[in-house]
C-alpha cells in the first residue's frame, strides 16, 4: 500500500510538538507521547529510524533542531515516507528562504498548515514541487520585512498546471536574456588503508542547473560518457571521436527527464523547471582521479609520546589549486601538549574533537606540504586498552576539476520562438567522506 503517513509531527529537541497534522483516523492524537516516552527519552534515540511501539510504527528524521516524526498503523511505504519528508523539507526551505529549524516553523504556522494540507491527502503524497505550489499558495514565508511581496492574484489556471503533464514548469515565462547555468559538483568518497591501498573509492556527482529560459524549451544534454557516445556514433554511423570517455556506473534523473527516451536513445532530454534544480546524479567507481594522496606515519614512542608525520600530495594540474583544505588527524584523548611544524598553512590542536586540525586555505597542484608534530600524552594507569585510531579525514574543494573526468559536451536548447541562449558551465570537486586509516 503506497500510503506514506497517517500523521506527521514536528517536534523540537525537548519533545514538544511544534506543529502536527493528522491525515488518517487510524492513529490516535496522543501517539506522539509514546514516541516521546519510548524513543526520545531513552537511549533508543538514533539507534534505528523505524520503530514499532504498540500497534503503531514511527519513522523519524532529524533536520537541524527539529524531529520530524511520521506515524502509521498500516503496512506503509517507508521509502515513500522518508522521501516525502526530505522533499517536504526542501519545499519548506524554499518557502522560508533557506532555513528550516524550530524558529522557522514557529514563524510560519499558517503557511505550514496550508502546505501540509496540499502536499499530502489521506496519507498519499501529492505534488511537492515548490515551483508549482507557489502559483497558488501565495503566502510568503516570514523572512525579512523588506522583501518584496509577489503579486496577490493567483494564476487562473493554477490547477491545470498542478496536474499537467509538465507538472514542474509553468507556462508563459519570459526572460529578457535567456541563460542556463550548469554546475557539475562531484564529491569524492575514499577509504584508504594505512598502507596506501585504496579500499573503496567512488565519486557521486550531481549536475545542478539554473535555468532562466522563456517559454517551454526542450533541452538536450550531451556528456562524454561511454554509453551516450557509443549510441551517438551508432546513430550517425561514424566512429566515435577519440578522447576520454567516462563510464558512469549509475545515473538517476530529475523527474523532468524523459526516462523512456533515455533508455532507448541514451540522450538526456527534458523540459526544465524554472530556476534552480538538480538535473541528475551519477556515480562512478572506475578510473577516479584522486586529487590528494595522504601519507601518514604515526609512531607511538613509549607511553607518553607520539610522533605524527603527514605528507599531503596534490596530484591535479599545477595551474589549478584547491580551496579550504582541512586535514583532521586524530590523537588520543589524553593528549597534553602538542607542537607543530608545517611547510604550508596552519595547524592547531582541537581538544574537543581530539584531533590536530591542519588548514591550508589555498593549495596549488603538484605540491606536497608536510606536517610534523610531537604529541605528549598524560600517562594514565587505567587506560589498559590500546588507542583505537579513527581515520584521518580531509575536506577540500577543487574548482574546475572533476575527479571523474566528466565533461559537458553540449547543451542544446530548442524553443518555438528560436531565441539564442547563453550557457555557463562550472566544475567543482569536493571531498565527500575522504578517509585515510592510520
Amino acid at each position: 500500500m503506497p500510503v506514506a503517513a497517517s500523521a506527521i509531527y514536528f517536534l523540537n529537541l525537548r519533545g514538544d510538538v511544534l506543529i502536527n497534522r493528522l491525515y488518517r483516523d487510524d492513529v490516535g492524537g496522543n501517539m506522539v507521547d509514546a514516541f516521546r516516552v519510548h524513543i526520545m527519552q531513552t537511549k533508543e534515540l538514533g539507534t534505528c529510524p523505524v520503530r514499532q511501539i504498540g500497534g503503531c510504527s514511527f519513522f523519524y528524521m532529524r533536520i537541524s533542531n527539529v524531529y520530524i516524526v511520521i506515524v502509521v498503523s498500516s503496512n506503509a511505504n517507508v521509502a515513500c515516507a522518508f522521501k516525502f519528508v526530505v522533499e517536504a523539507v526542501t519545499l519548506f526551505k524554499s518557502y522560508f528562504g533557506g532555513a528550516f529549524d524550530e524558529d522557522a516553523i514557529r514563524n510560519n504556522f499558517v503557511l505550514i498548515y496550508e502546505l501540509l494540507d496540499e502536499i499530502m491527502d489521506f496519507g498519499y503524497p501529492q505534488n511537492l514541487s515548490p515551483e508549482i505550489l507557489k502559483l497558488y499558495i501565495t503566502q510568503e514565508g516570514v523572512r525579512s520585512p523588506f522583501s518584496s511581496k509577489a503579486s496577490d492574484k493567483p494564476v487562473p489556471n493554477a490547477t491545470l498546471q498542478v496536474t499537467g503533464a509538465v507538472g514542474w514548469r509553468r507556462e508563459g515565462l519570459v526572460y529578457k536574456k535567456n541563460e542556463v547555468f550548469l554546475d557539475i559538483v562531484e564529491s569524492v568518497n575514499l577509504l584508504m588503508s594505512s598502507k596506501g591501498s585504496v579500499l573503496r573509492c567512488d565519486v557521486t556527482g550531481k549536475i545542478l542547473m539554473k535555468c532562466f529560459l522563456s517559454g517551454m524549451p526542450d533541452l538536450k544534454l550531451g556528456l562524454n560518457d561511454k554509453i551516450g557516445l557509443e549510441k551517438e556514433s551508432q546513430l550517425k554511423s561514424r566512429p566515435a571521436k577519440s578522447g576520454k570517455t567516462i563510464e558512469l556506473d549509475d545515473v538517476t534523473f530529475h523527474q523532468c527527464v524523459n526516462l523512456t527516451r533515455f533508455n532507448s536513445e541514451k540522450t538526456v532530454s527534458f523540459v526544465p523547471p524554472d530556476g534552480e534544480f538538480e538535473l541528475m546524479k551519477y556515480r562512478i567507481t572506475e578510473g577516479v582521479n584522486l586529487p590528494f594522496r595522504v601519507l601518514p606515519t604515526i609512531k607511538e614512542l613509549g607511553r607518553t609520546r607520539m610522533e605524527v608525520n603527514v605528507k599531503v600530495k596534490s596530484v591535479f594540474g599545477a595551474k589549478m589549486f584547491a580551496l579550504g583544505v582541512v586535514i583532521k588527524i586524530p590523537v588520543p584523548k589524553q593528549t597534553a601538549k602538542t607542537s607543530f611544524q608545517v611547510t604550508s598553512g596552519r595547524a592547531k590542536y582541537s581538544p574537543s574533537t581530539d584531533c590536530l586540525i591542519w588548514k591550508i586555505r589555498k593549495f596549488p597542484g603538484q605540491t606536497e606540504p608536510t606536517l610534523s608534530a610531537e604529541v605528549e600524552l598524560i600517562s594514565t594507569m587505567t587506560e589498559k586498552k590500546s588507542w583505537t585510531r579513527p581515520p584521518i579525514q580531509m575536506e577540500f574543494q577543487v574548482p574546475m576539476f572533476t575527479a571523474s573526468g566528466l565533461r559537458v559536451r553540449f547543451l542544446k536548447v530548442w524553443e518555438k520562438s528560436g531565441y539564442n541562449t547563453v550557457e555557463w558551465v562550472r566544475y567543482i570537486t569536493k571531498a565527500g567522506s575522504y578517509e585515510i586509516r592510520c
Binding site: P2, I19, D25, D26, V27, G28, G29, M31, T47, P49, V50, I53, G54, G55, C56, S57, M61, V72, S73, S74, N75, A76, N77, V78, A79, C80, F82, K83, V86, V110, D117, F122, Y124, Q126, N127, L128, Y136, Q139, P154, A158, T159, L160, T163, A165, G167, S193, L199, R200, D202, T204, T252, F253, H254, N263, K281, R283, P391, Q393, S433, E435
Partner: protein
C-alpha cells in the same frame, strides 16, 4: 496545534467565519473543522451548507478544498451530505478537482463502505483510470488499491487492458503517482514469460529515477516478474541492471539508506548474484550511523565469498577495534559466521579471531569465544590447538553466554586439556550463583569430563554438581537434566557415554536466513514497513477494517436495548479517548427515556454483575471511553469512567488484553488532583489471558490531599502490571459524580443562601443549541444526577427553573435555568461560594441537557 488547549468551545464562532472570501482564512477554518467536528458532531452539521456551496464554487481550488475537507470529517451526519458533491466532483472538468475527489472516495470507504458501494462510487473511480490526466489516474489507482486491501470482495482487479493503460500513464505521472501505480501493478500476475518480459521492459527505465521510492517499487515489480521469466540471459541482464540503482540508494540520507539496506538484505537472499561484485560499497564509513553500520555488516556476511574473504576479514578486523561496543561485537561475530559459512576461509578467520583475543579488550574476547565455540561445532577436531590460548582468558569472562561457551569447549575437549578438571572446578565453587545458562553447561561439561576421565577428582565433582543441580535448585530445567544424567550414570554408564558423547550434527550458518516462503512474501512488500521489519504485514498490522465494521453494524437492531455492543470500534481505538461517549455509542443502543451514559452505567439495576471480574465478556451498557488505546499500551487497552452509585463514587474500568502474553499484577495509582480523588480499595483485576478482558468497579474516596491551583477536571492515572512498563494516561473528572444525595435544599434556605452570596459569585452561561422538550423529563433526569428541583416560575414565554446541588465539603450550587420549552437556547446561571468551580459545573451539566 493550539498548544494543547481545547478550543472546541469556539466551534459556532469559527463556523460563522466559514463563508469568508479569503482563501487562506477558509483553509484555516476547514482545518479547525477537521480537528473539532468530532467533538461537536451536532454543531458540525452547521457547516454542511457551506461545504455544499463551496463544492460548486467557480474556483476549482475551493471545490477541491471542500471535498477534501468533507472527507476528513468523520461524522456520520456530514458523510450523508458528502455524497452528492462527491459525485459531481468526480466528473468535474478540472483535473485538480477530480484527483482530489478520487482520494475522497477512499476516505469515504474508510468511514462507510456500504455507502460507497451503494452510490456507485466504485464504478466512477474505475472510470477515472481511463482519465486523460495522469495525476487523476494515479490517485484513482491509489484509492482503488486501498479499497481493495480493506475489502474481502474483488473490487479492483488488474486486467491486461488496465495494465497497458497504467504502464503508459507511468511515463507522464509525477514521481509519487509512479509509486502508486507501480505498487498497484505489483499485484498483477503475468500470464507467461513473454508478458512478464514486456512488463519488465516498460518498468526498467524507472530504475533511473531520482526518487528512492520509485526505484524500490520498480525493483519490487521486476523481481516479481522475474519469477516467470525463463530465459537465463534476460534474467542475467536484469540482475545487471538492478545493481547500480540499488547501490546508488546508499548515497541518500541515512534513514533512506537504512530502508534500502533492509530491502537489499532480502534481495541478496533471493538473488545473491545481483550484488555479488559490489561488496565494497557496503564497507562501513566511520561516520555512518550505527543502524546503517549494523545492516551493512549483515549484508557483508551474506556477500562474503572465497573470492573476497581476505578483504572482508580486514574490514571486520578494523571494525572490531572501533568504539561502539555493539558494533564491535557484531563485527567479531561476523568473523565467526564467515568461518562457518566458508570452509576454506575458516583458518584465516580463526587467526583473525586469535589476534583480536590478544588485544585483551574484554568484550571482544568474550564475543570471540562465543563464536569459536560455534566454529568448533562446525569443524570438529580441527582447530583444538587454539584451546590453550582461549584458556588464558578464562578469568576475564563475566558474561553468561561467553562463560557457557567456554565451559562447553572444556567439556567437549576434556580429554585433550590436561587440567580440564581444575578449570571446571574453579567454576563449580560459584555454581549456585551462576545464571541458569551457565549452570546447565557446567552440568553437562562435568558429566562429559567424568565419562571421559572417570577418575577420583571428576567423580567427586560430579557428585557435587548433581547435588547442587537437583536438591538445591529451583530451576526445573536444570533439575530435570540433572536427574536424567544421574539415572543414566547410575543404571548404565556405557549407555550414558553413547548418549552424552554422541556425534553432533554439523551446524551451518543459518542465522538471519529467512524461510523461503516468508522471503517471497517480504519481497512482494519491498519498500514497505513489512520489508523493514522482515515480518509479514499481518504480524504487525492489527486492524481489518471493513469486516469488523459490518459486523458491528449488524448488532444494534438485532440485540436491541443496551446489551452487547462490541466495546470499541476498531478503527477508532486510537482516537476515541477525546470523543464524547455519544459519538462512539451506536445510536440504536440507547433507548429514549434512559438518556445519558451515567444513568446507564450507574442506575441500571441489572448491571450489578459488572463487579464480577473474571468473565471475559464485555460489560453490558455502552462502551466506556478508551483511556489507553491498545496501540499506545502495547496491546493493553484500558477504558474507564467515573460513576456514582448508591452515594459512592466508583471508577468503572475495562481492561482488554490483546497482547500475546497473559498479564497480571495490575495496580493503579492516581496523581494528586483538584478533588483529592483517590482509590478506596486496591484494584482487583484477575490474570488476563491474551484476547480476554475484565471489567471492574474501583471504589473511590476523597482524601485531603488536594493539588494546588485552580480546580481542574484533569485526573492523571498510572497503571502497571507485572509484564509491561507503567502506563500513564489521563481522564476527565465529571463534576456530576460529586453531587451528593443530600443536595436538596428547602425553599427558604435556598432563598437565604442566594441572597447571602454576593453578586460576583453569580456566573451564567448560554447553551444555544440545547432544546428542552419537556420540563418534567429534564427534571427527572437531573434528579437522578442529584440535582434537585426547588421551584419553577414563568417569565413571559420562558420557564425559569431553580435547582440545587451539593458537592463534598458542603459546597452548594444554586442553579437557575431559563429556557423556552421546545425552542433552542438555554441559559444556566449558578451561584456558589466557590465560583472557580463554575466552568467545571457547566462542562459537566452540558451533557445532561443535551440528551
Amino acid at each position: 496545534m493550539t498548544v494543547g488547549k481545547d478550543v472546541s468551545s469556539l466551534f459556532t464562532d469559527v463556523v460563522n467565519c466559514m463563508q469568508t472570501e479569503n482563501l487562506e482564512l477558509k483553509k484555516l477554518v476547514y482545518l479547525y473543522l477537521i480537528n473539532y467536528a468530532k467533538s461537536q458532531p451536532d454543531l458540525a452539521i452547521l457547516a454542511v451548507n457551506t461545504f455544499v456551496k463551496d463544492s460548486q464554487d467557480p474556483n476549482p481550488l475551493i471545490r477541491a478544498l471542500a471535498v477534501r475537507t468533507m472527507g476528513c470529517i468523520r461524522v456520520d451526519k456530514i458523510t450523508e451530505y458528502l455524497c452528492d458533491p462527491l459525485q459531481r466532483c468526480l466528473k468535474d472538468d478540472d483535473p485538480y478537482v477530480r484527483k482530489t475527489a478520487a482520494i475522497c472516495v477512499a476516505k469515504l470507504y474508510d468511514i462507510n463502505a456500504e455507502l460507497v458501494e451503494d452510490r456507485g462510487f466504485l464504478d466512477a473511480l474505475k472510470d477515472l483510470i481511463s482519465d486523460n490526466n495522469p495525476m487523476v489516474v494515479a490517485n484513482a489507482v491509489a484509492a482503488l488499491a486501498e479499497i481493495q486491501e480493506n475489502s474481502s470482495r474483488p473490487i479492483f482487479e488488474i486486467t491486461n487492458h488496465t495494465l497497458t493503460k497504467l504502464l503508459t500513464a507511468l511515463n507522464e505521472c509525477t514521481e509519487w503517482g509512479q509509486v502508486f501505480i507501480l505498487d498497484a501493478l505489483s499485484k498483477y500476475k503475468a500470464a507467461d514469460a513473454r508478458e512478464a518480459e514486456n512488463i519488465v521492459e516498460r518498468v526498467t527505465p524507472r530504475l533511473q529515477h531520482a526518487n528512492c521510492a520509485v526505484v524500490l517499487s520498480a525493483v519490487k515489480m521486476i523481481l516479481l516478474q522475474m519469477e516467470l521469466i525463463t530465459s537465463t540471459d534476460v534474467v542475467r541482464n536484469l540482475c545487471k541492471k538492478m545493481a547500480p540503482p540499488l547501490v546508488t540508494l546508499l548515497s541518500a540520507e541515512p534513514e533512506i539508506q537504512y530502508v534500502a539496506l533492509r530491502n537489499i538484505n532480502l534481495i541478496v537472499q533471493k538473488r545473491p548474484t545481483i550484488l555479488a561484485h559490489e561488496i565494497k560499497v557496503f564497507f562501513c564509513k566511520y561516520n555512518d550511523p550505527i543502524y546503517v553500520k549494523m545492516e551493512k555488516l549483515e549484508i557483508m556476511i551474506k556477500l562474503a565469498s572465497d573470492r573476497n574473504i581476505d578483504q572482508v576479514l580486514l574490514e571486520f578486523k578494523e571494525y572490531a577495534t572501533e568504539v561502539d561496543v555493539d558494533f564491535v561485537r557484531k563485527a567479531v561475530r561476523a568473523i565467526g559466521r564467515c568461518a562457518i559459512k566458508l570452509e576454506r576461509a575458516a583458518e584465516r578467520c580463526i587467526s583473525v579471531l586469535l589476534e583480536l583475543i590478544k588485544i585483551k579488550v574484554n568484550y571482544v574476547v568474550q564475543e570471540a569465544i562465543i563464536v569459536i565455540k560455534d566454529i568448533f561445532r562446525r569443524y570438529p577436531n580441527t582447530y583444538e590447538s587454539i584451546i590453550a590460548t582461549l584458556c588464558e582468558s578464562l578469568d576475564t569472562l563475566d558474561e553468561p553466554e561467553a562463560k557457557a561457551s567456554m565451559i562447553w569447549i572444556i567439556g567437549e575437549y576434556a580429554e585433550r586439556i590436561d587440567n580440564a578438571d581444575e578449570l571446571l572446578e574453579s567454576f563449580l565453587e560459584t555454581f549456585p550463583e551462576e545464571p541458569p545458562q551457565v549452570q546447565l553447561q557446567l552440568l553437562t561439561a562435568t558429566v562429559k569430563l567424568f565419562l571421559k576421565k572417570p577418575t577420583e577428582g571428576p567423580q567427586q565433582m560430579i557428585q557435587v554438581v548433581l547435588n547442587n543441580a537437583t536438591v538445591e535448585t529451583d530451576n526445573p530445567d536444570l533439575r530435570d537434566r540433572a536427574y536424567i544424567y544421574w539415572r543414566l550414570l547410575s543404571t548404565d554408564p556405557e549407555a550414558a557415554k553413547d548418549v552424552v558423547l554422541a556425534e553432533k550434527p554439523v551446524i551451518s550458518d543459518d542465522s538471519n536466513q529467512l524461510d523461503p516462503s516468508l522471503l517471497d512474501e517480504l519481497l512482494a512488500n519491498i519498500a514497505t514497513l513489512s520489508s523493514v521489519y522482515h515480518k509479514p504485514p499481518d504480524a504487525f498490522v492489527t486492524r481489518v477494517k471493513t469486516v469488523q465494521r459490518t459486523e458491528e453494524e449488524d448488532y444494534p437492531d438485532g440485540e436491541g436495548g443496551n446489551s452487547e455492543s462490541p466495546a470499541h470500534v476498531p478503527g477508532d481505538a486510537g482516537a476515541s479517548s477525546n470523543v464524547p461517549p455519544s459519538a462512539v455509542r451506536p445510536p440504536a443502543a440507547a433507548p429514549a427515556p434512559v438518556a445519558d451514559l451515567l444513568d446507564l452505567m450507574g442506575m441500571d439495576g441489572n448491571n450489578s454483575a459488572i463487579v464480577a471480574t473474571d468473565i471475559p465478556a464485555s460489560p453490558a451498557g455502552p462502551p466506556l471511553p478508551v483511556l489507553l488505546a491498545a496501540s499506545a499500551g502495547q496491546g493493553l487497552q484500558i477504558s474507564g469512567q467515573l460513576i456514582r452509585r448508591d452515594g459512592q463514587i466508583f471508577y468503572s474500568m475495562l481492561f482488554e488484553n490483546s497482547t500475546q502474553v497473559p498479564l497480571d499484577g495490575f495496580m493503579i495509582q492516581f496523581n494528586k488532583n483538584s478533588f483529592g480523588l483517590t482509590t478506596g480499595a486496591p484494584l482487583q483485576v484477575p490474570l488476563l489471558q491474551p484476547g480476554t478482558s475484565a471489567s471492574t468497579l474501583l471504589p473511590m474516596v476523597l482524601s485531603q490531599n488536594l493539588s494546588p491551583g485552580p480546580p481542574s477536571t484533569l485526573l492523571q492515572i498510572a497503571v502497571k502490571n507485572n509484564q509491561q512498563p507503567v502506563w500513564y494516561f489521563s481522564d476527565k473528572i465529571p463534576l456530576i459524580v460529586f453531587f451528593t444525595e443530600d443536595g436538596r435544599m428547602e425553599r427558604s434556605t435556598f432563598l437565604e443562601t442566594w441572597k447571602s452570596l454576593p453578586d460576583s459569585n453569580e456566573i451564567s452561561k448560554d447553551f444555544p443549541a440545547v432544546v428542552l422538550n419537556s420540563v418534567e423529563t429534564t427534571l427527572d433526569r437531573l434528579a437522578t444526577s442529584n440535582m434537585f428541583f426547588i421551584a419553577k416560575r414563568k417569565h413571559s414565554n420562558q420557564d425559569v427553573l431553580y435547582l440545587s446541588a451539593k458537592i463534598p465539603r458542603g459546597i452548594p450550587f444554586l442553579i437557575e435555568l431559563t429556557t423556552a420549552v421546545g425552542t433552542p437556547g438555554l441559559k444556566c446561571a449558578i451561584k456558589t461560594p466557590s465560583p472557580e468551580m463554575a466552568p467545571l459545573f457547566f462542562e459537566a451539566v452540558e451533557g445532561l441537557f443535551k440528551s
